[in-house]
């Protein structure tokens, strides 16, 4: 039987995404959904870049794309451009699509690696070619995908409207106390500053870094990954748009970290993610300001974080989602995605009145896989580079990586094999984009590669992609904005 009451604690992106998904999924059931948030506590949501899975989330909720883009000042995103990562002066794009197509049954990248004079790898990606030209068109049966860049604060507000229209009750207030049940150890109730007590059967902790329930009350524990991902601070700073809006997020490597640039309809989000072990806060701000395309629109928003994840993200009757569950820097735009994954798993394993600890165990097992696989993918960006201009990059190159990543790297370096897995966000094309974009080149070609028709087939693919990219409208036109 269905439990009766869910309380979502925290109203940022995670909280409202969770509330909206619950409201949609349990529409027509007696499940009572309440969200408590405090206007006094800011949310971390700085401009957010996403990966294509967000489209599925919105579509499931029945959200209209045009309405969503208008409400969140969103733009289209064909990939992430990584500047200066492999070497200074480099630029490569990680798209949401495969590269090329198999030739003679042999995966495309093997054929490309074995060919001389086949041009750049990115010439075999339609979304990259479109993005390089500032163009965008929604795929119409084409083999590529896209995501969005949008204002996460506006997205939360949009989902609040969605949720409240579907019966979610919003409560305003600061949580001052969490009461546990002596016998089960479950959270029984929270107390607000006003003295009011809110009880529930299930608590969703979306309270951000501090993990009000999951950590402060339930002591879930935290697994730190800072030895692999040394960045621990960020400064966010929006500025006005200048020039055309690229259908891309850009991540430019810096001496001790990297700077994001996320184009929205009304402004550009900027931020510097850096390691306090290698640079000072002032220097980091200076670096960001020096590269800002226009004068800042606000005061710098400073963030501190510890990369890692809660050892248990579901404890008793409390599930942590979003920053309360862990933190991975937004280098591959995975923050909202990990929220979405957690929500999906919660809905799959939604508790019943007969609580079974197996639900939590399975949730935790799967979320650990998700986090670890994204983590490995992020470490790849830092570890595989040839930058010799700072201590930070030398450190990242010399560090020991997790065995799971070392295994993947060994196989790719040997002969271009991309290790596959069932659970996990990034599939073969993503790994290929970063490997090849950062000069991780196999030592040996695939023995199947080559053959009479390969050169011609590749030239035809290249030409077709270039021609298609040229027919696409500009990104602004696709958004219906005046150029």
């Amino acid at each position: 039987m269905l439990i009766g009451r869910v309380l979502v604690v925290g109203g940022g992106t995670a909280g409202w995404m969770a509330a909206a998904a619950l409201a949609h999924k349990f529409a027509g059931t007696p499940l009572a959904i309440t969200l408590v948030e405090s206007a006094e506590i800011g949310t971390v949501g700085v401009g957010e870049a996403t990966i294509p899975h967000i489209r599925h989330f919105n579509a499931t909720l029945g959200i209209d794309e045009a309405e969503f883009l208008a409400a969140t000042k969103g733009t289209y995103k064909l990939g992430i451009e990584f500047v200066d990562w492999g070497c200074k002066g480099d630029s490569y794009i990680h798209p949401f699509a495969e590269f090329g197509a198999p030739i003679d049954g042999v995966p495309f990248h093997h054929q490309w690696l074995a060919s001389e004079g086949a041009g750049a790898f990115e010439e075999y990606s339609l979304p990259i070619q479109a993005a390089r030209r500032g163009r965008f068109r929604r795929p119409d049966g084409d083999p590529y995908n896209y995501a969005y860049q949008f204002d996460a604060g506006l997205y939360a507000r949009f989902l609040r409207g969605y949720s409240e229209a579907r019966g979610v009750v919003r409560r305003e207030g600061k949580v001052v106390d969490v009461a546990l049940d002596g016998e089960s150890g479950h959270v029984r109730a929270i107390t607000l500053e006003s003295g009011e007590t809110l009880e529930a059967d299930l608590f969703v902790d979306c309270s951000g870094f501090r993990g009000l329930l999951i950590e402060q009350a339930l002591r879930a524990g935290y697994e730190e990954w800072t030895h692999w991902l040394p960045c621990d601070r960020a400064i966010a700073l929006p500025c006005p748009n200048t020039g055309p809006l690229p259908p891309l997020t850009r991540a430019t490597a810096q001496e001790s970290g990297w700077i994001w640039r996320i184009p929205l309809q009304h402004r550009t989000g900027n931020g510097h993610v850096y390691s306090s072990g290698f640079t000072s806060d002032d220097a980091a701000l200076g670096t960001l300001l020096a590269q800002l395309p226009a004068a800042p629109l606000a005061e710098p928003n400073r963030l501190r974080f510890v990369t890692g994840k809660r050892r248990r993200q579901w404890v008793g009757n409390t599930i942590a989602i979003g920053l309360a569950s862990g933190f991975l820097e937004p280098l591959e735009s995975t923050s909202i995605h990990l929220i979405q994954v957690a929500i999906g798993r919660l809905l799959d394993l939604f508790p019943t009145q007969a609580w079974d600890p197996l639900d939590a165990q399975e949730f935790n097992r799967l979320m650990a896989l998700d986090y670890e696989r994204v983590r490995d993918f992020l470490i790849l960006h830092y570890h595989c580079q040839q930058r010799d201009d700072s201590k930070f990059w030398r450190h990242c190159r010399a560090m020991t990586v997790p065995d799971s990543l070392a295994h993947k790297l060994e196989l790719f370096r040997e002969r271009g094999v991309v290790v596959q897995y069932r659970e996990g966000t990034f599939l073969e094309p993503s790994w290929l984009a970063v490997y090849l974009g950062q000069h991780v080149t196999p030592n040996h070609p695939d023995p199947r590669a080559g053959g009479a028709g390969v050169t011609g087939a590749m030239a035809a693919m290249r030409a077709e992609i270039a021609a298609l990219a040229a027919t696409m409208p500009s990104h602004e036109a696709a958004l219906g904005m005046a150029a």
Partner: protein, 466 residues
């Protein structure tokens, strides 16, 4: 660089390997060496093979005409496996196709659990087109139109081994270079005394593992008690049923693969529970964790031997060949063999779990073999699946799974395992809507099956029977 690949074994496994390699590696020299005796290259499991639904695709990818093959191999079509005697008195069917359909986002078996909770009996196979068509002896190739209910299933093939091997051989255009006598120092000695070298050797010689025999075998006998097989062939007239049969009895089980003109049989039993039978072949179920050792790669039954409850031995080989081609070493002493072995073992372990599932969840009370199988511990990976299923009907899938969650659920449910809870959302659906949903699926299926030709008519239309 691999310039020469030698295959030992001229059974189905050897010829499948030869076909895959010659097509994928036109610039590599591939040769094959004959072995003596019956073809046990995929296991001594009767004179016919039954495939899973991915085999027709493999054939198409490798230029083998399905009709010609069916003709040469007295073949017929398969919609799944009928299992009797495993759950006690209840029979069940593992179909090659979907069972039911979700309502909103709630899975079909969760809906079924809700109906059962309100006292309404449900048999999952009644909501599978493949299962109902099989039970009524009907078959037609599935539709490619995803909107048609006729796209809700796939099909496997029943093929006589000799005809399959011969068809594959013809497709390769190869002839054996000679007959195997011995293997030493990475060289094969032929019966005529000549010696052959290769950069890689594929051991397709079956459980004898003429090349790979020293590389270590991990036995699964503690979980899979059958250690003897008797192969048999029963000539029969009439139309073969479009499914395999696996019938459990006190000391093991009997496999039946129907062909045009007869039935291929294999009796699996535990020698501790049945007096020795004439012509019994001893087997040790298990796998070779280092299937690839040095220059030798064990394939087929030389690499893994698991009683073929659901025709996975062909699928094992298909996947092993694809993996081998993706991991052909570019240089000596690279990481490819270790990765090949890791992936191969992962897949074997998952199939092992699927096989053990049939024993662990059996309903044959009062028989020593089955009582023990029900109570003995199983591998942790399987126990985790069983625990989660028992808790709320979920089946977690790991890397390397050959079977999807729906297949696991069909077996678990068929065996009579009922989760303690079902998804809460199923409770939110009004009973009337549930009944309507089930009724609609059932009538769609019945209408479709009524309009389907009999298996015999399809076989006749394709010229496979007179």
């Amino acid at each position: 660089m691999i310039a020469r690949i030698g295959i030992v074994g001229t059974g189905v496994a050897g010829w499948m390997a030869a076909l895959a390699l010659t097509r994928a590696l036109p610039r590599t020299e591939v040769f094959i060496i004959a072995t003596e005796g019956p073809d046990h290259s995929l296991g001594p499991f009767g004179p016919a093979e039954a495939s899973l639904p991915d085999f027709p695709y493999w054939l198409a990818d490798h230029g083998v005409d399905e009709r010609e093959l069916l003709h040469a191999a007295h073949g017929s079509f398969s919609l799944g496996t009928a299992c009797s005697g495993w759950a006690g008195e209840v029979d069940w069917f593992l179909p090659f196709g979907t069972i039911g359909a979700p309502l909103a986002t709630t899975a079909f078996h969760q809906l079924a659990a809700r109906l059962r909770a309100i006292g309404q009996p449900v048999r999952l196979a009644d909501f599978s087109l493949a299962a109902i068509a099989a039970a009524s002896g009907r078959f037609v190739r599935p539709s490619e139109d995803p909107r048609s209910i006729l796209s809700s299933y796939g099909y496997g093939l029943h093929l006589d081994r000799a005809g399959l091997a011969e068809t594959l051989r013809a497709a390769t255009g190869l002839r054996p270079l000679g007959s195997f006598r011995a293997f030493a120092d990475d060289e094969v000695e032929l019966q005529d005394g000549s010696r052959l070298t290769a950069d890689l050797w594929l051991d397709c010689s079956g459980p004898a593992a003429l090349l790979a025999g020293d590389s270590g075998w991990e036995s699964w006998a503690e979980w899979l008690p059958c250690n003897r097989v008797v192969e048999n062939w029963n000539p029969a007239e009439g139309i073969p049923p479009p499914y395999c049969h696996a019938g459990a009895f006190e000391a093991g089980w009997q496999r039946t693969v129907p062909l045009v003109g007869g039935q291929s049989g294999a009796l699996f039993y535990s020698s501790a529970h049945l007096p020795e039978q004439p012509n019994a072949i001893p087997i040790v179920q298990g796998h070779r964790p280092r299937a690839w050792t040095g220059k030798v790669i064990a394939l087929g039954a030389a690499a893994a031997l698991v009683e073929p409850l659901h025709g996975w031995n062909l699928a094992f080989l298909q996947n092993a060949l694809a993996r081998l081609l993706a991991l052909l070493p570019a240089a000596p002493s690279g990481p490819e063999p270790a990765e090949y072995n890791r992936l191969t073992a992962e897949e074997a372990d998952r199939v092992r779990d699927f096989a053990i599932l049939h024993y662990k969840t059996n309903g044959r009370a009062g028989e020593p073999l089955w009582d023990h199988a029900r109570t003995a511990p199983v591998p942790e990976t399987l126990q985790h699946k069983l625990d989660l299923y028992a808790s709320r009907g979920r089946v977690p899938l790991y890397d390397g799974e050959l079977f999807e969650a729906e297949d696991w659920i069909a077996v678990l449910d068929g065996q009579g395992i009922r989760p303690r809870r079902h998804d809460a959302l199923a409770d939110a659906i009004p009973e009337e809507a549930l009944a309507q949903h089930f009724g609609r699926i059932r009538s769609l299926i019945l209408d479709a099956v009524r309009a389907m030709p009999h298996h015999g008519a399809t076989l006749r239309a394709e010229g496979l029977i007179a």
